[in-house]
Subunit: 251 residues, 4 copies
């Protein structure tokens, strides 16, 4: 069936309309503008992370819940908030954990093999690794943009390189275990903190411990969620109802 | 395509699994138990409203957002809340408005025709009327159960009868304009207030003005949303992602 | 100053008005009715927990945030939700953890001393123990009511007795380390599960592992939070602003 | 009593500690840096609004609820969201309404007197007018900074001047009826839209009708609320409980 739909033979009417951003192609676009063209304009790293994380299409958990709430006729704050509440361990909220675990592993000189297998033994998924859609042969363009930026602008990218080595190892295990955007930002910030010369080792430990980085993602994605809310209101979309056919009713 | 799916020839894999309740048949069921059998056991009217409103399947806005959030690995409160935020003018939050408008129209002796057409002139949808799925020839069983209960137990059902007359008129205009559960509860509570003999006319006006009834729906539906959260956790469902094919990307 | 206020010599104008419930005395009251009189009427244990947890005055985190949001002129759902979001490890959300740890410790035959000290070594606070206000010589009446009920109605109260022994030990360490309502409900449900004869040992393990009990508190407290929202609206309270004098502005 | 506290004779222990921003003096400061020095650096108007609205101290409804939730040990998203939910008609959510009403009144050539009195007749508060603390002789510095900026950089400020005339009239009625930051941003954006030459009259009407401006405030204030969350976590603040003495328990 999916094949039939993709081949254009069958056309199912879509239940959702969206104009904000499009994450289907090689590279995500905001209103038709590809991300790389936005990044190539000489911003700081914080701004770039904000821009890369601002939105990732209408299909991800956050945007989806915001769209559903906006279509229920609710106000901006309720719509935004309903989407924000999905941010967490599986969606957008793994930046700080990625930074913590990568830092710990690197500082202890663990090889990627030792690190990943020790996580497995503890039964913890490696934060910053894995994606629902992206694969080894179809990386996340945002991750590549971040890495390119860091290699060009940062004095040292040792944590980032370590994350890449971890990815090489996990990709050898399964094709979905790519470095995701949370892992990229997490490792990149470790390099930023270490390379800035502004913090003592102890201060860096405390910063990573408290975990400020998820705040960056939350703020950035708020931009996208606010955009989706207005988009649905402008398009005057009616109440959403998930199709019965898509649910398995069981015991 | 939908016809093909329904006829069982094509089988699309479902994206959602649920065990809590089933609203597809004639009558909603909680874990297999039909609602009418629950109602027939001698409870008070408040308890019955709570039970009838506790859940209405996994496809409605509230349950859907709660399910998506739970599948993002978030805690109970975040999941519940993400769903609650969809309750409003189009989903579950029209009880007080229905009570206000029905009361006003009845007390002013407006005929259903005068009432509905005056709302149309003001550009306001009649609260308590309209449903996304139910039709004139496929009423909402919950509405029927409530009306049966009221006719059996209440000294007077004048507001409820008025709501039914309004529905008769709106159904003559369009087949989707049935009396919905918000409208049924709203009118029924007007009869309860008027019939109880416990409140002066002025007190009733104030109660309807402040609007306590949506609280009943919000509390009742919290039960269902908490249930959906645990259901998804128990079933260990992974991160939800809305299918690309179901979105129309446009400008 | 506080002494002066309490002695009645100085009277600071209060910033908050509330009519819902009063938790200042020996025993909490709902609209003037003491809790014990509600409990003495032959309900099941689930109903009693709901009633005991429905509200605990306007000063606790949840009610406070709901009141502030309602006074900002926001709708019922937003006000309710703003308060619900405070429920967690420190406020109302420790029931499942209490059940897990008490069960684990009891089943392993740890003495209260071994249990509490092992938690201390791990740097984890004992969930279900500790209260912001209650003390060894001023127990939480709700805990006493629950224990009385269980002793009267349950075939066995071994987990509850264990929790009491843990409390005896923690109270010997510090006067604030009483068994709180979360700990009482957690242990009581262990007895209920074990005594019902309806579940195998493995099923009980899974129930405690998933953790359904916080849902009970969340649902119960929703009643109180909805009440506080209507209360503030009825009293037409203006926008709340925390007094500057009560904040220490520092670096 | 307040006099005694202010004069420094009596010192009540504060219940809240905060380091993020200070709104007590003439001009709000972020971590000690006064706002005007931030504004004087050649940003665009959107950036300036974001910066002026990012925070306004720990005492306002939003920051307060976020602080309470963070002190209940909840995660970043829950804390942020609990505060965001207070944004609405009385706190930060009046920008779009201010734009709508000011535009309508100006375009209809209503005098400030006619406009304000017609609102009074309809029983609607003039959005963008009024402040809990600021007075005619103690204006909101943020409003002055915005007006200065607009006068220097905008081709025409006719809507802004109209808002100032409205303020002159309302101040003649009561000293608290100053133009607030919502009113200032609302009127300033009308000038921006009208002066940009990019939109037709009809497009401007649609933009104002849908109301995108509250999104600006919501996004800006998210920055402050995220800051307050981290601030409380860094300061390891315990569970907040509102003091009993500050509540009037009544019927
Ligand atoms: C992002 C994520 C939720 C996507 O999950 P998903 O596509 O639903 O993947 P599934 O949960 O179906 O997992 C598929 C398999 O990959 C494994 N896997 C997925 N992510 C993994 C990780 N980070 N580490 C180790 N194994 C992982 C799963 O264990 C599962 O293996 P199994 O089939 O043997 O049980 C998941 O990769 C993850 O949890 N990553 C870690 C947290 C993270 O970085 N989140 C932020 C993403 S922006
Ligand atoms: C419940 C509701 C959201 C379902 O809406 P929906 O199925 O998405 O319906 P649509 O918005 O697509 O409307 C279909 C048509 O019916 C009309 N309509 C729907 N509800 C109406 C009402 N209550 N009064 C008058 N007309 C109504 C619409 O105007 C539309 O007419 P059009 O095609 O000429 O523009 C809608 O009926 C409604 O808003 N009802 C009033 C509020 C209410 O009672 N909500 C609580 C429901 S539990
Ligand atoms: C309920 C609770 C938040 C009240 O906390 P509080 O009054 O703010 O107490 P404080 O955080 O100021 O702690 C006071 C002292 O008691 C200790 N303490 C408090 N609760 C403790 C517990 N459950 N186990 C061990 N020690 C505890 C603290 O470590 C602290 O000791 P210190 O001064 O040596 O550091 C706290 O007791 C707690 O976290 N309990 C466990 C979780 C729980 O049951 N929550 C639900 C309550 S309804
Ligand atoms: C901002 C606001 C909530 C502050 O309110 P507050 O300090 O709690 O003021 P109160 O509600 O106690 O009102 C005091 C008096 O001023 C009047 N008042 C306050 N704002 C008014 C307005 N915008 N228009 C007309 N009258 C107003 C009130 O009616 C009241 O008069 P009364 O004593 O005769 O009844 C209030 O001014 C308001 O609602 N303004 C309009 C909405 C707005 O701009 N909000 C965004 C602010 S950032």
């Amino acid at each position: 069936l999916n094949t039939a739909i993709k081949s254009g033979k069958v056309r199912a009417p879509t239940h959702i309309i969206s104009t904000i951003s499009d994450d289907r192609g090689e590279e995500p676009c905001y209103a038709g503008v590809p991300m790389s063209s936005i990044v190539e304009q000489g911003y700081g790293v914080g701004d770039i992370c904000i821009m890369l994380c601002a939105d990732h299409g209408p299909c991800v958990s956050g945007a989806h819940n915001t769209i559903v709430t906006a279509r229920a006729g609710k106000d901006l704050v309720s719509s935004l908030v309903s989407g924000l509440l999905t941010i967490g361990p599986r969606f957008g909220g793994a930046i700080d954990d990625a930074a913590r675990y990568f830092k710990d592993a690197y500082d202890k000189n663990l090889t990627p093999y030792e690190f990943v297998e020790s996580m497995k033994k503890k039964g913890i998924r490696v934060p910053g690794i894995g994606h629902r859609i992206k694969r080894g042969d179809n990386r996340d363009k945002r991750v590549e943009l971040l890495q390119l930026f860091a290699r060009t602008n940062f004095p040292s990218v040792k944590y980032m390189e370590y994350a890449v080595q971890v990815e090489t190892y996990t990709l050898s295990k399964a094709n979905n275990l790519v470095l995701n955007v949370d892992g990229a930002i997490g490792s990149l910030f470790l390099d930023l903190l270490a390379g800035s010369g502004m913090f003592t080792k102890q201060e860096i430990d405390e910063i990573v411990e408290i975990g400020y980085l998820n705040g960056l993602f939350v703020l950035a994605r708020s931009i996208g969620l606010i955009g989706h809310t207005f988009d649905q209101k402008r398009l005057k979309q009616p109440l959403y109802r998930h199709p019965w056919e898509d649910v398995l009713y069981t015991k």
